[in-house]
């Protein structure tokens, strides 16, 4: 299996791929063995093409650049370039230099992106709250245009906060996998819930769960409590809401 047979989108572009090849080959970025790296790069591109992945044009442009640099390095140096003039010694340009600088520059920001990612993760561990609605404190003002320090972006920002808030609110129900959800415990909880609600609650209010198993256990607990004459369930008419009452509270009334 080809070692470069990785998904195309694992790389952020030709520079990213090149950096990867350089690091992998453990070579000096200031002295890239161009022939070797170019071969590996072309190998990767060919593999992508064999897999019929779309190779973005940037990758092909880079391939051409690499080949151009490679051929330049193979060419014998032309004399007039080296000794242009007796007094004016022209320093020989390394054909790799421009690419090297780009790689080094890109690498810095790639590193910075990693740091940001860490910071983002840390920040994700602290939570705040939506600001209080302060409009009750707004003093009634005369009906005249006022100067307001808000831009259109403040408005859009506010709307965005609203979306964010709504998004955060969706899973308000706690989702906790309880290994043990024994009927006995659920029976106690139902009695406790009834006590808190002055001995009477609605049937559906007992089923504030998302897990199937918890719903079943709650239903069984209700049946058990009815059998033990601890609670009584009442329904006024067909399909109306069922209310659940403590037995003692209800025997006299019912």
């Amino acid at each position: 299996m080809d070692i470069y047979n990785v998904k195309l989108d694992a790389f952020e572009g030709p520079l990213d791929l090149l950096l990867h090849l350089i690091t992998k080959a453990e070579v000096d970025i200031y002295d890239i063995p161009l022939s070797k790296i170019t071969d590996q790069y072309m190998n990767y591109i060919h593999t992508m093409q064999r897999l019929e992945l779309d190779v973005a044009s940037e990758y092909l442009v880079m391939a051409a650049t690499l080949l151009a640099i490679k051929s330049k390095m193979l060419l014998p140096k032309q004399e007039e370039e080296i000794y242009n003039d007796e007094h004016d010694f022209v320093e020989e340009d390394d054909p790799r230099e421009e690419l090297m600088n780009r790689l080094i520059e890109y690498r810095r920001y790639k590193g910075a992106a990693e740091t940001l990612k860490e910071k983002e993760k840390e920040r994700g561990l602290i939570f705040s709250r939506t600001p209080s609605d302060l409009s009750p404190y707004v003093e009634e003002v005369k009906r005249e245009p006022q100067r307001i320090n808000a831009s259109i972006y403040d408005m859009i920002d506010a709307f965005n906060q609203l979306l964010k808030r709504k998004q955060e609110k969706i899973p308000r129900k706690t989702k906790i996998n309880r290994e043990d959800f024994p009927i006995e415990k659920r029976m106690e909880e139902i009695i406790e819930q009834l006590n808190q609600a002055n001995g009477r609650t609605m049937f559906f209010q007992l089923f504030d769960y998302e897990e199937r198993s918890q719903l079943i256990v709650t239903f069984l607990a209700v049946l058990e409590l009815m059998k033990a004459q601890k609670i009584i369930c009442k329904q006024e008419t067909n399909f109306s809401d069922i209310s659940v009452c403590r037995w003692e509270g209800e025997t006299f009334v019912g």
Partner: protein
């Protein structure tokens, strides 16, 4: 197992993040995986702590739901904050409401409340009194609810020539919904070609 000091700290944090919706004993019990009685015990402790005069918040219970609120005594300072000329900014509530009116006009109060998920009478009033929005009509039929729209002052204030100049609203989340992003780019490129 958490000790009581830790549990109290977590309950404090829970009360804080649950904001104006509050949190009930059962939710707390579920999060900490302890029984309701222990929750009651912790809450009683916390409430006591906050009763102290030196505190800026208090914990109140309403229908089994606990929440932090500010103290009545401090209302004058909150008034000063919101009405201070330096921060003559619109409140978050007012800005949200204004955004909804701007993009969805004409719109009724009920529809705004549906989107915001909270009562919005006060922010609406405040926007009307600042002449940023106004009544633009009534819904046909019973009730004849007021329809709100933005004013010319609104355009002036935000430096817009017309409502067409409003920037597009942010997408909900674009990294996940690539299709939406694709549509956006198609339109974006179309625009580039057109111009």
């Amino acid at each position: 197992m958490l000790d009581k000091v830790e549990m109290k700290a977590i309950v404090e944090g829970l009360l804080f993040i649950s904001g104006e919706e509050g949190i009930d004993e059962k939710q707390i019990a579920d999060v900490l995986q302890i029984d309701i009685l222990s929750v009651k015990d912790i809450l009683r402790d916390l409430i006591d702590q906050y009763t102290d005069q030196s505190r800026g918040m208090q914990i109140v219970e309403l229908a089994g739901v606990y929440q932090f609120t500010t103290k009545q005594d401090h209302a004058p300072y909150f008034k000063r904050l919101i009405n201070s000329p330096n921060s003559a900014t619109l409140s978050q509530a007012a800005l949200e409401t204004l955004a909804i009116v701007a993009y969805k006009q004409p719109i009724t109060r009920a529809e705004i409340e549906e989107i915001r998920g909270v009562k919005s009478e006060r922010p609406l009033q405040s926007l009307v009194s600042k002449l940023l929005i106004k009544e633009v009509g009534r819904v046909e039929g019973t009730g004849r609810a007021i329809l709100y729209g933005t004013t010319k002052d609104f355009l002036d204030h935000f430096g817009l020539k017309s409502l067409q100049e409003l920037p597009p609203l942010p997408e909900k989340d674009d990294d996940t919904s690539l299709e939406e992003a694709d549509l956006f780019f198609q339109r974006f490129q179309q625009n580039l070609v057109d111009n």
